[in-house]
């Protein structure tokens, strides 16, 4: 067993672009997922009972299915319906779709945590539905949901490793590729682990700062 760091240095360019690919699929996918999750939660809340039951069912189905299987369904199953996506697009969309149901649940619990009396009081004061959402519900629920969202973001960061299976050239795919080509598993896998640890740790640190920021008005 020997350790040869030159293999990492020689491939630094490829590893860097793989790192950027991981960050890209992760952040774009999560951002889309957050938006979709918010819309889902709002539809469940204001869309009436039949729509709520349908969405509830969809959410349960997505939550019961492994991410890898969703990825296969979209990437390999899509062409049966004429939907041909590139690996990267399919990956980003799957991260977005998969995370949207979890984000929807987080937003829903956030909405539910704001006391009904406050909404009634706001209505009596003549606030519109949108004003209520933006100025009464959102600031309060942000305090409660920020930790859950940050936690979900770290989970999604790790989930992007699965995209390597459908050949997205992200960290896991590129580094294991270098490893198998040059038989340097120790070096490449070590760098791979460190890269993910770095991303996850950085996210949770930023999350803690954010938690303090959104909760600042409570301390006053």
């Amino acid at each position: 067993m020997n350790f040869d760091p030159s293999i990492i240095l020689n491939n630094a360019g490829a590893i860097w672009s793989a790192f950027m690919m991981t960050v890209y699929t992760w952040l774009v996918g999560s951002a889309l997922g957050l938006v979709a999750g918010f819309v889902l939660a709002a539809l469940m809340l204001f869309g009436g009972t039949p729509l709520r039951l349908v969405l509830r069912g969809v959410i349960e189905l997505v939550r019961g299915t492994p991410f890898l299987v969703i990825l296969f369904l979209v990437y390999y199953g899509g062409p049966a319906f004429g939907i041909r996506l590139g690996a990267i697009t399919a990956g980003v969309l799957c991260i977005a779709g998969y995370s949207s149901v979890y984000f929807a649940e987080i937003f829903r619990s956030g909405f539910a945590s704001v006391p009904r009396g406050q909404l009634e009081a706001g209505e009596c004061l003549g606030l519109s539905r949108l004003q209520l959402l933006w100025r009464v519900q959102l600031p309060q629920m942000l305090v409660l949901i920020t930790p859950a969202i940050v936690n979900m973001l770290t989970i999604l960061c790790k989930e992007t490793a699965v995209l390597s299976i459908i050949t997205v050239p992200e960290l896991t795919a590129v580094l294991t590729g270098i490893g198998t080509r040059t038989f340097t598993f120790i070096e490449t896998l070590l760098v791979l682990c460190i890269a993910y640890l770095l991303l996850v740790e950085l996210t949770s640190r930023l999350g803690r700062v954010l938690e303090r920021r959104v909760g600042a008005y409570l301390q006053r």
Partner: protein, 219 residues
Amino acid sequence: MFDWPTFVFSLPLLAQALLITLQTSLLGNVIGFAIAVGIASMQLAGRPLLRRLGGSYIFVFRGVPLLVQLLVIYYLAPMLGAPNLSPMVAAIMALSLCSGAYIAEILRGGLMAIPPGQREAAHLLGMSRAAILLRIELPQAVQSTLPSLVNELVLLIKASALVSVVGLADLTRVAQNLAASDYLFFQHYLVLAGIYCLINIPLTMFGRGLERHLQRSLA
């Protein structure tokens, strides 16, 4: 669109694969629980070194994707002199090491909620530390965290789809092989998703029921 004869033909193969999936995830969960008991008690121990070690374990195994852990175990074990691992052993190792870190975090919460007076009383009655952990603290911690533990099992069953990567013939792998042989990708993966849902949705509902039950009994 949906080819029924193919579906019927694939059922016995999928049933066999389901057993492999359940076997790996359940074994992973049980061994992971044992690891978690060790890690959680290390974290709650008095010695800083033990705490540090327990913390590092959780940091590493929760910070690295399961797929990467699986690849590390599968590729690196032979290089470090261990004999070639069978896919089954590598899969169970990865699942239990990883779930150990997550379950440890859950158990730690449960253990911390137990009033310290109980431990002191048991100590005065002459119980050993191991006996206190196993017979007094752990049963209560498990009871109070059961919904989270069930949730963790669901996550692990879903995560076990990744073991198909190291060549274990689990549900996902068998569905992949079926799809590769007749190009009915969408159908096979839809059935695959359905089977995972059939296991996971009832389990999730069971977990929610437990949570309600627990809240009622505490209220």
